[in-house]
Symmetry: C2
Subunit: 269 residues, 2 copies
């Protein structure tokens, strides 16, 4: 048995197996109170016409994080975006790309609603897609827009959801998107990253709508207000007020300085 296990390193470090390494991006934002992801429609084989995450090859002279930042700038057409960017996970199934052996390092980006979603981008067809449409299973409480806006009783909306419109994804990008959304949902509990979805100054109500969009739930505005303002360092009053949401004028806040929320904002069971 000892001999059986002892066949060590059969690879000369000078002749290592060659892999392609890519970065794929899960870029999330909240638009019109809905969690949305930046998606591409592929123009080439393999998977022509399928929905895919933005991404591309890592270049020899750049680190993984630099590659992610470069791709993000290329796809959004904007440099130095005020986004949060973190590594998500790495995907390396043998057959995940039919052309060759590719290992993809996925990154998660959280951004405020961007002025021009695809302005100047080089990608064939980049657009914001509501995640509840792409991954209806992650939003069991949300009826999709199509259902809400058309007559009930049509065959394809009989169960409240048009299965026929569920996206067909390229590669393993559905799984990566699922993992990215789950990471974002979890990060909202323990970090102040919900504010990464908001403009520099925001109201408590706007922050609450971020939580509701990402978690796919409704929250009690009164308890939410007490909790956010009672968590030390989460938000700081900026002095101003706004009525951009209608109703009574709301205080404006900016992001505080803590990196971990204590107590955390726990998702409802």
């Amino acid at each position: 048995m000892m001999a059986a296990m002892t066949e060590s390193e059969p690879y000369d470090p000078a002749r290592f197996p060659a892999f392609a390494v890519t970065v794929d991006l899960v870029v999330l934002t909240v638009r019109e109170s809905r969690l949305s992801a930046l998606m591409i429609r592929r123009g080439e084989e393999p998977f022509v016409g399928r929905t895919a995450l933005p991404g591309g090859f890592v270049r020899p002279g750049e680190s993984l994080g630099e590659a992610a930042k470069r791709e993000l700038a290329e796809e959004t057409g904007l440099a130095d975006l005020p986004v949060h960017l973190e590594q998500l996970a790495t995907y390396g199934a043998v057959d995940r790309d039919p052309r060759m052996r590719v290992v993809s390092v996925a990154y998660l980006a959280l951004a405020p609603d961007l002025p021009s979603p695809t302005a100047g981008g080089d990608a064939a067809d980049a657009h914001w897609a509501p995640v509840a449409d792409l991954l209806p299973d992650l939003f069991p409480n949300v009826l999709d827009a199509d259902h809400v806006m058309t007559h009930a009783g049509r065959a394809d909306v009989a169960d409240g959801r048009r299965k026929s419109e569920r996206a067909a994804f390229a590669f393993d990008h559905e799984q990566i998107l699922v993992d990215g959304v789950e990471r974002a949902r979890s990060k909202l509990e323990y970090t102040p990253l919900a504010a990464a979805f908001c403009p520099p100054e925001f109201t408590v109500g706007e922050l609450r709508r971020v939580y509701e969009a990402v978690w796919g739930v409704e929250l009690d505005p009164r308890n939410f207000h007490r909790k956010v303002t009672g968590t030390p360092g989460y938000v700081l009053p900026s002095g101003g007020t706004t009525t951009r949401q209608g109703g009574r004028p709301a205080q404006l806040f900016k992001r505080g300085d803590v990196t971990l929320l204590n107590p955390p904002m726990l998702r409802p069971a």
Copy 2:
């Protein structure tokens, strides 16, 4: 500006930049109430003689997870270990390996105290090292063994710690180990993975010593007992008792079936 951003994919997918891909393992266990990591002393350049994590190249026909499992079996000399194995993060700084461009996917393994730490292993010099010795900064409440067992007042232990014995790591393996320990600490809060450090049947006290070793803190045995046995699905009484820890006989438990603890076991502030 639009033109400036629009220089897309300069790489023909048929001529992608070639990377080496490795897996590195953070293998943690609890031995004699101390969190310990499986470490290698390197026998070759670069970084001869330095402390490193076990790992190796991913082979063309295996996935990342398969490579991690294979390396784990090779390094421990045991197949089908009852370990928890999960992906940790991926490290791809341009110059992290002086020989070539290497992207390393790190995995975290949590194992019960293994019968023979390095029996039959092929690695030159694999051994269990207490993490408090490797990374004293992560255990501010722990005085290292050397200090405890020698006379106080020696120059090199004047501050309660022998700086001269701090490990010199190869590559970026210190950072990977730090990240692995932090992941393990965090996982113990929200999952029942502390039991992955225990034999199939264990006592509440043994489980508590796992938390104390990983977190580097002391916990109140009475509150801990109430909390563990009060968290539904965490542990199930197996019927037996043991006195292997001395004192009054303790009930034996096995792992329950939940994957998420509710309520969680929060680290003391």
